[in-house]
């Protein structure tokens, strides 16, 4: 009898709590759309400037988020370029070449790296910038390159782990066929295993890109500023979309700025949601471990 009531209660509570979660997410997103939708448009991105001239770089955009979008794109492209080759190669090594002891040790290290808070990695990047500034040249300081490097460190474990997992998941039939036909280990890896694991690898890459686009804590310490315009070089400071949102949230002075903040939220949400959904579309059963981030 008591058990019966407890079981009923568990079912009821589960449904109520699920509903509570759904409603709070719906309310949250609804509010964001309600506040942000009216500000979406050409003005939000380019302000008063002519879009064509702004894209060509002949005039500077002031009252728009164009420089922040360009900064975020630069950041994502740079850090992906830095992290991808190293990450994918490390993943291949772990899955195909490493012995059991090495696998355990490196697996542990990558799990630890995946768990380190992003602000700590930002602090690492900041220290690196200061170190370079003091020991090499005054030109170094917090900048686009340092941010991209730190973000690359941040997303490295996602790329390594997803590459490794999707290679290891391949069935023996795929794994052995080419070898039996006389292919070398490298040929087997390059021509058979990687193409078969491509969906898993690329879903990890999309996740990593999404992380680069949304992370704020790392860039906060490594060179993002509120007004810098479109970045001119790797060693210059820059603007970025997530930082713009953060900045607006405690520095806005009027309603127009605030509604630009909501608009920027919607654009960033669109970019990240698309990347994450793309990652899931590539591979339905993505290992949740790759999702763990802090």
């Amino acid at each position: 009898m008591i058990h019966g009531i407890a079981e009923k209660a568990i079912a009821v509570f589960s449904w109520v709590l699920t509903l509570a979660l759904c409603l709070s997410v719906a309310f949250f997103l609804g509010y964001l759309f309600f506040r942000g939708f009216p500000s979406l448009g050409k003005e939000l991105i380019f302000g008063q400037a002519d879009p064509l001239k702004a894209v060509m770089g002949s005039i500077r955009v002031f009252e728009g988020i164009f420089p922040a979008i360009v900064g975020t794109i630069c950041l994502v492209v740079l850090s992906a370029t830095l992290a991808l080759p190293v990450g994918v190669c490390s993943g291949i090594y772990l899955a195909e070449y490493a012995g059991p002891g090495m696998k355990k040790l490196l697996g542990m290290l990558f799990d630890i790296l995946a768990g380190i808070p992003s602000i700590v990695i930002g602090l690492f990047g900041f220290s690196l910038a200061v170190f370079l500034h003091n020991h090499f040249s005054d030109h170094f300081g917090p900048c686009l390159l340092i941010s991209a490097l730190s973000l690359a460190v941040l997303v490295l474990p996602y790329i390594v782990r997803s590459t490794q997992t999707s290679l290891e998941e391949l069935p023996v039939s795929i794994r052995k066929t080419a070898l039996a036909l006389g292919a070398s280990k490298l040929q087997n890896t390059v021509y058979v295993l990687i193409p078969n694991a491509l969906s898993g690898i690329s879903s990890g890459i999309f996740l990593a890109i999404g992380r680069c686009a949304e992370d704020t804590a790392v860039i906060l310490l490594t060179g993002v500023v509120a007004t810098a315009g479109v970045p001119s070089s790797l060693l210059s400071q820059y603007e970025a979309l997530p930082f713009f949102i953060y900045y607006i949230s405690n520095q806005y002075s009027n309603q127009a700025e605030l509604s630009r903040g909501y608009g920027a939220c919607l654009i960033l949400l669109g970019i990240c949601a698309a990347l994450f959904l793309l990652a899931y579309g590539m591979k339905k059963h993505l290992s949740y471990r790759t999702l763990y981030r802090a």
């Binding site: 079912a11 709070s24 490390s90 490196l106 602000i119 930002g122 490298l186 704020t216 990240c272 959904l277």
Partner: protein
């Protein structure tokens, strides 16, 4: 020719793996080296346990450790029932369509940027807390609620993943004995999946400990250990973000490396615990 190619490829892969490993170790090394002046002599203990009183030369990070624990623990405590309920519905209580929709919602939630949670939190939740519950609005409670929402996908995905990976033979056997859905869930699936669920809980806790933006934007950032849910607090992560580098060699600035080390150790402990749990689970099938 082919053999040398093999050798080169192998070396490149090995080199990349080693480089990644070195980077991870160097993060901790960097912080220890740069925080070194803090740990010299009598300052060693006071950094961890002393008060934050810059005018008297004390730069203890204890208030920040306390703030971090308050907010992170509140977040996971709020998140736990929410995630359990949702994971139960996803794995056994809901029909196929509801399961699919919920699964999609939770995955979508993992894609929402942290800064957006913070932004909406400031303009939506802070006024509600200030008017409805009292206090300054930016406090442990506000940050805890939003953080609970932020880490809930991690918990839900881990919970439902480990519930779903319970051997169907057990579930079918219970069904044959006449157990209904809730009974199968409570007496068969949950006891079998408890290890995996514990991992999910600890990983979510690790995420809550390490999150910067929510606490930075919503917790008020006062350097004082909180004594209630309606008081403002500063987390270790927010402290790192807020101390500006006026003088790189000042002790105040060095304190952020102590924060970094504390965070590194806390999250590494979480990761290692999860790995130990997972190993034990795999050891006894």
């Amino acid at each position: 020719m082919s053999a040398s190619k093999e050798y080169i490829a192998r070396s490149v892969f090995l080199f990349c793996a080693m480089a990644s490993a070195v980077i991870i170790s160097s993060i901790l090394l960097f912080m220890i080296v740069l925080g070194l002046p803090l740990f010299k002599g009598s300052a060693f203990l006071s950094v961890w346990t002393g008060p934050w009183a810059p005018h008297q030369g004390f730069y203890g990070i204890l208030p920040m450790i306390s703030g971090t624990l308050w907010i992170a623990l509140l977040a996971v405590i709020l998140c736990l029932p929410l995630s359990l309920g949702t994971a139960f519905v996803i794995t056994s209580l809901g029909g196929p369509q509801i399961r699919r929709m919920l699964g999609a919602l939770v995955r979508f939630m993992t894609g929402i940027p942290t800064v957006i949670y913070g932004f909406v939190g400031i303009f939506l939740l802070v006024p509600i807390i200030r008017e409805g519950v009292g206090g300054p609005g930016m406090c442990v409670l506000t940050a805890g609620i939003i953080l609970a929402l932020l880490v809930s996908p991690t918990m839900i995905l881990f919970f439902s993943d480990s519930l779903q990976s319970v051997d169907p033979a057990y579930v079918q056997a219970a069904k044959a004995l006449g157990a209904d859905r809730v009974q199968r869930l409570m007496y068969v699936m949950v006891p079998k999946a408890i290890g995996g669920m514990a991992s999910g809980f600890i990983l979510a806790l690790g995420r809550a400990l390490g999150d910067t933006l929510i606490a930075l934007m919503l917790a008020g950032n006062a350097i004082r250990a909180p004594h209630g849910f309606l008081e403002p607090a500063r987390t270790l992560t927010a402290h790192i973000a807020l101390v500006k580098a006026a003088d790189f060699n000042s002790l105040e600035f060095r304190s952020i490396f102590a924060c970094g080390i504390a965070l590194y150790l806390l999250t590494t402990a979480a990761t290692v615990t999860v790995r130990l749990i997972e190993r034990k689970r795999r050891g006894e099938p």
